[in-house]
């Protein structure tokens, strides 16, 4: 393989991977930024998305239905969880959230196992994107191009949502000063419910999109949550742009690191995280030091 097609292929690989990491990280970072909650169950919502996506696609025969239904259901469950349980805990310290979301991880994981069983399930790539394109004679799956594109679209969408909509404004304001927003007569609880639901929905969206690459399986959650943490930590907790930056950075380090130093594939991500934290304890774009 010549250098040019090699570089192009690897960069596109990295971008498609960055998109998946971004979906995973951005929800977690939004939730943290607004609610100061480390949502342990984030990976489980990602997994839930993949399984619901699988079933919806099977029932309706369309991947796209799964892509819509998965995040909606996961988001609704997340919102219900926030309303039912988390809302009673805001006066308590952070450890309460850690425990309650840890509990949710176990419960949700087991429910998924009871519903879908232990075997991995395959979600087919949608027909439109099942083909390949040739980059200087090297085949490249169009689905990966779609992933990278979806990453850009979602990133722009979230950015516009935060900048342009009233809810987005409230979310940004709440992350600055929840009491002030409350004093202005806004129902802060509603903002929190919305953001928790949106965060979980984004994780599920990532899950549905990742399923054709990795299959829907019970191992997804554990892997995903640590990736999500790494993205959020490197990017800076609560920073939307940070998570985008971190996702791209981690994806490139992984793709090129794995190529040149395969023995360090596992350690690379953690070394990067350590390096970033030592230089900037709050993460790349984080506010806290």
């Amino acid at each position: 393989m010549d250098l040019l097609p090699f570089l192009l292929t690897q960069c596109l690989n990295a971008l498609s991977q960055a998109a998946l990491l971004f979906f995973l990280g951005v929800g977690l970072t939004l939730i943290f930024g607004i609610m100061r909650i480390v949502n342990f169950a984030h990976g489980t919502f990602y997994m839930l998305g993949a399984f619901i996506g699988y079933s919806s696609a099977r029932v309706t025969g369309s991947f796209w239905a799964g892509l819509v239904i998965g995040p909606l259901i996961a988001g609704a469950i997340g919102a219900a969880f926030e309303m039912g349980l988390l809302r009673r805990l805001y006066r308590r310290d952070a450890s309460a959230f850690l425990m309650v979301t840890f509990g949710l991880t176990l419960v949700l994981g087991e429910i998924i196992r009871l519903i879908w069983g232990v075997d991995a399930l395959q979600l087919e790539v949608p027909e439109v994107f099942s083909g390949i394109v040739f980059l200087f004679d090297e085949p490249f799956p169009t689905y990966r191009l779609f992933l990278a594109g979806a990453g850009v679209v979602v990133a722009v969408g979230i950015w516009q949502f935060l900048e342009r909509t009233r809810l987005g404004l409230l979310i940004r304001a709440t992350s600055q000063n929840a009491e002030m927003v409350h004093a202005l007569g806004v129902d802060v609880n509603l903002v929190r419910t919305a953001i928790f639901g949106i965060g979980c929905g984004l994780a599920a969206l990532g899950g549905v999109l990742a399923a054709p690459l990795v299959t829907a399986s019970l191992g997804m959650a554990g892997n995903a949550i640590i990736d999500a943490f790494v993205i959020v930590i490197i990017g800076g907790m609560g920073s939307f742009l940070g998570s985008l930056l971190a996702a791209v950075l981690v994806a490139f380090v992984q793709v090129f690191g794995t190529y040149y130093f395969p023995d360090f594939a596992l350690a690379a991500m953690y070394m990067l995280m350590l390096l970033v934290l030592v230089i900037r304890p709050g993460g790349l774009l984080g506010k806290e030091a």
């Binding site: 805990l89 425990m99 087991e110 640590i226 943490f229 596992l266 995280m273 350590l274 030091a289």
Partner: protein, 305 residues
């Protein structure tokens, strides 16, 4: 204090009343209790929330396992050496991690523990990589002491270490040093401005915490005969943290109870149902909602009422 003495006596006579398998569980519960208590020094007394305490346990477990497999060191010395190594490594780790505070500190500890996990996965000659170290013996000695090779003997070794560590921690948190830790917990900036080199105190408490956590790990590997990368995994760090919180942080004995509760509950549930995780999770959520002060808080509230 009287309750502690009573508990110690009950634990000391436990081997005479409990069946074999219960002793196995109890031994492991005490080892985890020691680990959770060591973390309480950081979390409960200094508000240094570590997401990487598995590193201490894993370091201790691997070191004592390695020493017992590859050297002729007697068991108690191997365990002590492992504990000392964990404490020494912690000084370096803490030196870096204390550059940050709050959630960033937590994240740095997580990063370190995961890096150690990755190293354990690659350093085959020492850690056995994915296989871990198996067949770790409980070597006799020194002076021909064979007591620790028996099940009950080993239990007493664990109990001795736990009680010793408890007495040590109790004295530590009530000492002038402990008063400074409490100051750091409540208001670190003020403590610094009073003229305390808070970073040094934090490094010291992390080192002590790791040495005791390492002691727990060092006791675990000869007990199970086994050590692997799961002991270093972030999930385990999270579980230990939860044991501390469930038990009641900042009490020392609370986390010991929390660890025993966590382990025994998981074990008992998994005996009765394959869906143990479901009930385990529900019980946790129930705990947070209805018993925010932890098991110890729940117990003392009952007593007071």
């Amino acid at each position: 204090m009287r309750a502690v003495v009573c508990a110690a006596i009950v634990l000391a006579i436990a081997p005479f009343g409990l069946p074999l398998f219960a002793m196995t569980l109890l031994t492991e519960a005490l080892i985890l209790g020691l680990l959770a208590m060591s973390l309480d020094l950081m979390v409960g007394y200094t508000r240094l929330i570590s997401f990487g305490h598995a590193a201490a346990y894993g370091l201790g477990a691997y070191t004592s396992g390695y020493l017992l497999l590859h050297t002729s060191l007697p068991l108690p010395f191997a365990v002590l050496a492992a504990s000392a190594l964990a404490g020494a490594v912690a000084i370096g780790v803490a030196w870096v991690c204390t550059l940050a505070t709050g959630i960033s500190f937590s994240m740095l500890t997580l990063a370190f523990a995961q890096l150690l996990y990755a190293v354990a996965f690659k350093w085959t000659s020492v850690t056995g990589a994915s296989d871990g170290l198996a067949g770790i013996p409980r070597r006799a000695g020194p002076f021909g002491i064979t007591m620790f090779q028996t099940k009950d003997g080993y239990y007493y070794l664990v109990l001795f270490c736990l009680l010793g560590a408890y007495a040590f921690c109790r004295s530590l948190v009530r000492s002038p040093f402990g008063a400074v830790l409490r100051g750091i917990r409540e208001n670190e900036a003020k403590t610094l401005s009073l003229g305390y080199n808070t970073r040094l105190y934090k490094i010291a408490v992390v080192a002590v915490s790791f040495a005791l956590g390492g002691l727990a790990g060092a006791l675990y590997s000869p007990f199970a005969g086994f050590a692997n990368t799961d002991l270093l995994f972030w999930l385990f760090s999270g579980q230990v943290l939860i044991m501390v919180i469930v038990g009641g942080q900042g009490t020392l004995h609370g986390p010991i109870l929390g660890a025993a509760f966590f382990m025994l509950l998981e074990h008992v549930l998994s005996l009765y149902t394959e869906s143990w995780a479901l009930f385990f999770g529900l019980i946790f959520i129930g705990f947070v909602m209805f018993a925010p002060e932890g098991i110890w808080g729940l117990l003392t509230r009952r007593v007071r009422a």
